[in-house]
């Protein structure tokens, strides 16, 4: 690690500074959000549907760029990086878990998860080995060769988490990970995310479920594209 890296390491993982995201039709998804996420946090972003949660998640994960304001991820100013460099940043540091899973239907679970390392330049054999390890850790060791449609909803969500986690990202972003699950599977999901957090990953969970939000150590409330509550507000500058 260079000296510059050391400096970056001391910085917050994510900084959003007066971020606004407005779409072409004039729809404002995120009005004005400033947020710091420290390394090693386990937090929830909470709010009703349409409050801009998903847009915020995309902005944090560099899938989207703000219309105004700036986003910093792991010390990099998103505005200063090209699309190509942002892709590299995502490949090495960010894992996404989507509500719709987005698993490839005709591909075995193992390869679905191994794809999480595809763009990080890891050789195929190692990708598959690491995918198997993660799947076993998440209790899916018996499902490696199954296709996604042969799995239950909770299992599919676990596969999606495994794919996000296999690259050991610094930041794991989960969009409504419990949204499609019954309460028991939802509880398991939270345990999994806690486990990843315990291994050093910063985890941000988007949810409209207050129980889920309450179970995490920090909670940011979003309404109409603005932060209306932050349990870590005192700590923020």
């Amino acid at each position: 690690m260079s000296a510059a890296d050391a400096v970056a390491g001391a910085q917050p993982l994510v900084v959003l500074d007066r971020v606004r995201r407005e779409y072409d039709a004039g729809v404002v998804a995120v009005r004005r959000v400033s947020l710091r996420i420290e390394r090693g946090e386990l937090m929830a972003v909470c709010g009703p549907s349409g409050s801009g949660k998903s847009t915020l998640l995309h902005l944090i994960g560099t899938l989207d760029r703000p219309s105004e304001g700036s986003v910093w991820l792991d010390g990099f100013d998103v505005a200063a990086l090209s699309d190509r460099e942002l892709s590299a940043l995502r490949a090495s540091r960010v894992g996404f878990v989507f509500q719709q899973f987005h698993l490839a239907a005709s591909v075995p679970v193992l390869d679905n998860v191994a794809d999480g390392l595809l763009y990080a330049g890891v050789a195929r054999r190692e990708r598959r080995e690491r995918a198997e390890q993660v799947l076993c850790r998440l209790g899916l060791g018996h499902r490696l060769d199954h296709r996604p449609h042969e799995l239950s909803g909770g299992e599919r969500q676990r596969v999606a988490i495994a794919r996000a986690a296999v690259g050991e990202p610094t930041l794991l972003l989960a969009d409504e990970p419990t949204g499609n699950l019954d309460s028991r599977s939802g509880g398991q999901m939270l345990e999994l995310l806690r486990g990843l957090h315990a291994r050093g990953t910063t985890v941000v969970v988007i949810t409209h479920d207050r129980d889920v939000a309450g179970a995490l150590s920090r909670r940011v409330d979003l309404r109409d594209g603005e932060v209306v509550g932050d349990t870590a507000a005192g700590a923020a500058p």
Binding site: F76, D77, V94, L118, R124, P237
Partner: protein, 407 residues
């Protein structure tokens, strides 16, 4: 809130996507919808198969012609009397055969003479008008060897049978007369005499005029049929490299008085010209194949456009996993190349198979020109690239968030 200060760190660089992984990605796209992949590859395959088969069949036919010419030899020239300056039918002097034979490089020289005073009929009850277009030719006994002909049945004329009313029929002439085989009892009514059919010829490619002729010996023609003894066609063979030189001196040698009335031709040229006519048809068929290929290419483009539309969420997912636009583009381009490449390879195999089947059926040597197969596959890759380019670029330009939002 203060923005972090230091950004002197190295900028993130995307890892490279290995060729094997790219290949696998493209293949996975096809495997996900096997029927569709097969059908659109089929379009390409039909186009390529058509083109390869057309080229292969015409190459096989040329190979056949070459081997025929090798067998028959291209060193035969024929000399025939043309017309006089006043438009009358000229004739060659009686000595012309001997004179031609004395040209240095000439190995053999022989002749036929048209017996215009006689016709041949199956029997003596046929009306005189129904000659069937069969010419009576007086033939020298060394004719068959010179034109590289062969008898299908019976024997060729020899010194003995040439003096007697014996006839050898050309392949077509025998058919016209309804004579299947030569035998001592088979007779035809020729010039007012019964002639025994002693032999029937195979078709003679270099001297097709013999196919529709009834050939009798020179002595019997002059003695019995009132033949004037003038040769009408002189056939000669020389060494291959002397053909042109012989050709130049033939008119003066054959008819020193009127060299301008002599026509010299090389029958093997006529066969080669026939092949040239075929190549025009080949060009036309090739064009049809190209149209089929183009339609196949449009099919691939269509498949790829639909594939990209259906897989927007996959594109979004891959972008979230860290795929660059270039890597998305490469993935779809690879898929398109694989699709058309598979079609092209299948087409080349089918085309070669059709060629082999057709050539074997016709008894030709099988010749599939390598440039046709290789060119076909290269053409499909070009088409695949073109067809896949637009969909691939479209996929790569999708905004990740919009792509993810599609169900």
């Amino acid at each position: 809130m203060s923005a972090p200060a230091a950004t002197t760190r190295q900028r993130p660089v995307p890892a490279r996507l290995w060729a094997a992984d790219l290949f696998r990605l493209g293949g996975a796209g096809l495997r996900a919808r096997p029927l569709r992949a097969v059908l659109s590859a089929l379009g390409i395959a039909i186009g390529i198969a058509a083109m390869v088969a057309v080229l292969g069949i015409s190459a096989s036919s040329r190979a056949q012609l070459r081997s025929t010419l090798d067998q028959l030899g291209t060193n035969m020239l024929t000399v025939s009397p043309g017309q006089t300056l006043f438009g009358e039918q000229s004739h060659l002097p009686d000595e012309s055969v001997g004179m031609v034979a004395r040209i240095g490089p000439v190995a053999t020289a022989t002749a036929t003479g048209r017996v215009s005073t006689a016709n041949v009929y199956r029997n003596d009850r046929i009306p005189t008008g129904e000659t069937g277009g069969i010419a009576i030719l007086a033939a020298r006994t060394d004719l068959l060897a010179t034109v590289h002909g062969s008898v299908a049945g019976g024997t060729w004329l020899n010194a003995a049978t040439a003096r007697y009313p014996a006839v050898v029929l050309g392949a077509e002439a025998a058919k016209l007369l309804g004579i299947g085989a030569a035998s001592p009892g088979t007779q035809v009514w020729l010039g007012g005499h019964w002639f025994t059919v002693v032999g029937i010829l195979d078709p003679v490619p270099l001297a097709p005029e013999l196919d529709t002729a009834a050939l009798v010996g020179w002595p019997v023609a002059t003695g019995l049929l009132g033949f004037d003894g003038h040769p009408t066609t002189v056939y000669e063979r020389s060494s291959d490299d002397a053909v042109q030189a012989v050709r130049n001196v033939l008119p003066q040698t054959a008819n020193p008085e009127h060299p301008e009335e002599v026509q010299v031709s090389r029958p093997s040229d006529a066969l080669a010209a026939k092949a040239a006519v075929n190549s025009t048809l080949t060009g036309l068929l090739l064009g049809l194949g190209a149209v089929a290929l183009l339609v196949g290419g449009v099919g691939v483009a269509n498949t790829m456009v639909i594939s990209v539309l259906e897989r927007r969420s996959e594109v979004g997912l891959r972008r979230s996993l860290g795929a660059t636009r270039g890597q998305i583009r490469s993935q779809f381009l690879t898929e398109s190349l694989l699709l058309s490449g598979l079609g092209g390879a299948a087409g080349a195999v089918i085309g070669a198979g059709v060629t082999a089947g057709y050539a074997l059926w016709r008894g030709w040597p099988v010749a599939v020109p390598p440039y046709a197969s290789v060119g076909g596959v290269v053409a499909t890759l070009l088409i695949g690239g073109l067809a896949g380019l637009y969909p691939a670029v479209r996929a790569s330009r999708l905004s990740p968030t919009e792509a993810l939002a599609t169900p």
